[in-house]
């Protein structure tokens, strides 16, 4: 066991996979010589050389196109899109090409590739560099969607994503890069689609993702102080979605609160809420409450950004509303 930052876990995971499999290559803007703008890929160029770790022009369509063409012809590329907001400039590649090609070709083409991207707010970067867009990805059939909340999960899930035969959109939450956690020695590989119950609880089920997991945990502490016993589930992946773990917990607690960093409308929380409203309706003892960033672009100023994003206090209020 060693302590490691979320940031360093990214490089560790990529290194683990590149060492194992020579077909893994890595490309993106400023990722090689500079080690990434978040310093999450430092050292990879030295370790694996300029053939496998490649700096690109500012051309996100060219980056994802290169990744896709390489994936269909024998490589396993990891492509970095620096900020998840920039997925919008290459969304055609994600939504129309990468996601649909296996299906359209009746299974002829495999696309074992990973798109890593820095997601989310809390860093005062303003509306074009702070979006949490995991729901953009979830709504597109044909891609898997993963978002770890701890350094250990960064390694386990990124390794699983690289080994997965399908395209995976891997969201690294920017506000977590500096956080630390225990990471076991040796190879780490998880299975995609397993949620973790990070806290057991009998009274309410709180479902969270990425940076919202520690906030949900903080809310659970606050609730415990007033005698409410909250379960907290870290989804870890949106596709595949671990409906079983969610449903089991909701059946036990009778209450569901989702906590999302993305803006309100059509977030993944809506999907989770809808599944529960269809499949567990008679187990519910109160309204399903979604705690989200309001349906606004994210403001830049500290005071405003903090007010916009879900806080432990707002999560507590959401739980109270469900239990009322």
């Amino acid at each position: 066991m060693a302590e490691m930052t979320y940031r360093d876990a990214v490089a560790a995971a990529i290194a683990q996979e590149m060492e194992r499999d020579p077909s893994v290559v890595f490309l993106g803007e400023d990722v090689a010589a500079a080690g990434g703008v978040f310093k999450a890929t430092v050292g990879l160029l030295d370790k694996f050389g300029p053939e496998r770790v490649v700096d690109t022009p500012i051309a996100e369509q060219a980056i994802l196109g290169a990744a896709m063409g390489a994936a269909m012809t024998g490589l396993r590329p990891i492509a970095e899109i620096m900020f998840s907001d920039f997925l919008a400039v290459c969304w055609d590649l994600v939504a129309n090409e990468i996601a649909k090609t296996r299906y359209m070709t009746n299974g002829q083409v495999s696309l074992p590739l990973v798109i890593r991207t820095g997601n989310g707010g809390g860093v005062r970067f303003g509306a074009q560099h702070s979006q949490s867009v995991e729901n953009w990805a979830m709504m597109i059939p044909g891609i898997k969607v993963v978002a770890p909340s701890t350094p250990r999960d960064v390694i386990g899930l990124l390794a699983a994503a690289v080994r997965d035969p399908d395209p995976v959109l891997f969201f690294e939450q920017k506000s977590l890069y500096a956080t630390k956690g225990e990471v076991e020695e040796g190879e780490i590989v998880d299975e995609l689609g397993r949620a973790t119950v990070v806290r057991e609880g009998r009274d309410v089920t709180i479902v969270a993702l990425a940076a919202m997991v520690p906030r949900a945990q903080a809310a659970a502490e606050l609730l415990a102080a007033e005698g409410i016993d909250a379960a907290v589930i870290d989804l870890r992946s949106l596709v595949p979605l671990d409906v079983t773990t969610i449903a089991n917990s909701v059946v036990a607690t009778g209450h569901l609160v989702t906590v999302e960093e993305n803006p309100r409308l059509c977030g993944w929380g809506a999907e989770v809420a809808s599944i529960v409203a269809e499949e567990c309706i008679f187990d519910l003892d109160g309204p399903i409450v979604r705690v989200t960033t309001p349906h606004v672009p994210l403001p830049a100023a500290e005071a405003l950004e903090d007010a916009a994003m879900p806080s432990p206090e707002r999560i507590v209020a959401g739980v109270r509303h469900s239990l009322a």
Partner: protein, 352 residues
């Protein structure tokens, strides 16, 4: 509005400073020429049949025919190695057949049948046969140029000497992905050949009215430090020459090429479009330059017997007839396919 349309009579002349092949490229070997002729005939027959089937309601949705543009696809098909990669567009029937993909599954795909190349899941605009190096037909303008780069990059990294060839239209040169793809290909010196089939029209808008330079591809080559190459896309021998040399250069590690082939679509953009928007004169002049009769004339002039040419024509037609019959005899795909092959496990399951 039509002022930037190249005049047909000057068409084979390369642009100023272009490194185009000489006006009379060395003729390909006889067997290549006969094979080219056969392939073009098959394409022509296939596309005409596809049109008829569309009118009969047997091809649904849409289809974009390559009638008149056969020489480009056929020449590259001959010049490519079996393990090279083709990337084409929605107007990709010719390019698919050019790689030796059998006609039955292609026809069946247009008709949405179970025996279709993708069992009906892709349709006319997405013909793909990985087995034949046909890496897909792409229906949204631009992206596939960047994807072709990826295949070329992969060939380079894997140390094979495969080449990727990417076909697209004149209108495609104005979208952003074109620029991103060409720059990356040049910087990374990728083994990729970009082939712009300049048929003078987007859907219903003449390319000259929306493009800053006279030659949509050749006029942009300099922006990527590539030589401008302008070639007569209706001359199968000229096309074969440029295909051979550009592929050889790419294979030898000398980097990408951007080729502008001047050609013309005989029919409308898609479906039953009568293409009334095009000036009659333009259509007439280009029909006179039809690559097929032109090639037959040349082969005959070079000594190929009329009976030999007639036989090839008859065989091509028989192939089309046979393919039509077989495709038409095929069943509709089972509805169970709807939820198949979204993911590599064969299914569409997004939950557990």
């Amino acid at each position: 509005m039509f002022s930037s349309r190249p005049k047909p009579e000057t068409m084979t002349a390369p642009a100023a400073g272009a490194s185009a092949p000489s006006l009379a490229p060395a003729a390909p070997p006889q067997e290549v020429r006969l094979s080219l002729y056969r392939r073009m005939l098959e394409m022509r027959g296939f596309e005409k049949r596809a049109y008829d089937l569309f009118l009969q309601g047997l091809v649904k949705g849409t289809s974009h025919l390559g009638l008149g543009q056969e020489a480009v696809a056929a020449a590259f098909g001959e010049a490519m190695r079996p393990d090279d990669y083709t990337f084409a567009t929605y107007r990709g029937h010719n390019h698919t057949l050019a790689r030796g993909v059998p006609m039955v599954p292609v026809m069946a795909e247009l008709m949405g049948r179970e025996t279709g190349l993708m069992a009906g899941k892709g349709g006319s605009m997405h013909l793909t046969s990985v087995e034949h190096g046909m890496m897909g037909s792409y229906a949204i303008i631009g992206a596939h140029l960047t994807i072709a780069n990826g295949a070329a990059w992969s060939a380079k990294v894997r140390g094979t000497d495969q080449v990727a060839v990417c076909f697209f239209g004149d209108g495609t040169t104005n979208i952003g992905a074109f620029h991103e793809a060409l720059n990356l290909a040049a910087v990374w010196k990728l083994p990729v050949v970009f082939v712009c089939e300049n048929n003078l029209w987007m859907e219903y808008t003449p390319i000259g009215s929306v493009t800053a330079v006279r030659q949509p591809a050749a006029g942009r080559a300099g922006a990527y430090n590539l030589p401008p190459v302008l070639v007569d896309g209706n001359d199968a021998d000229a096309m074969y020459a440029i295909a051979t040399s550009s592929i050889a250069r790419a294979r030898a590690g000398e980097g990408p090429a951007l080729i502008e082939a001047l050609t013309y679509r005989h029919g409308g953009h898609s479906r039953a479009d009568p293409a009334k928007y095009r000036p009659e004169d333009e259509v007439r002049q280009w029909l006179e330059r039809d690559p097929l009769p032109r090639y037959r004339f040349r082969l005959a002039a070079d000594g190929v017997a009329a009976e030999a040419l007639d036989r090839i024509e008859a065989e091509a037609q028989a192939t089309v007839d046979e393919a039509t019959a077989q495709a038409q005899a095929s069943a509709e795909p089972p509805v169970g396919l709807v939820e198949k092959d979204v993911f590599a496990d064969g299914g569409a399951t997004w939950r557990r």
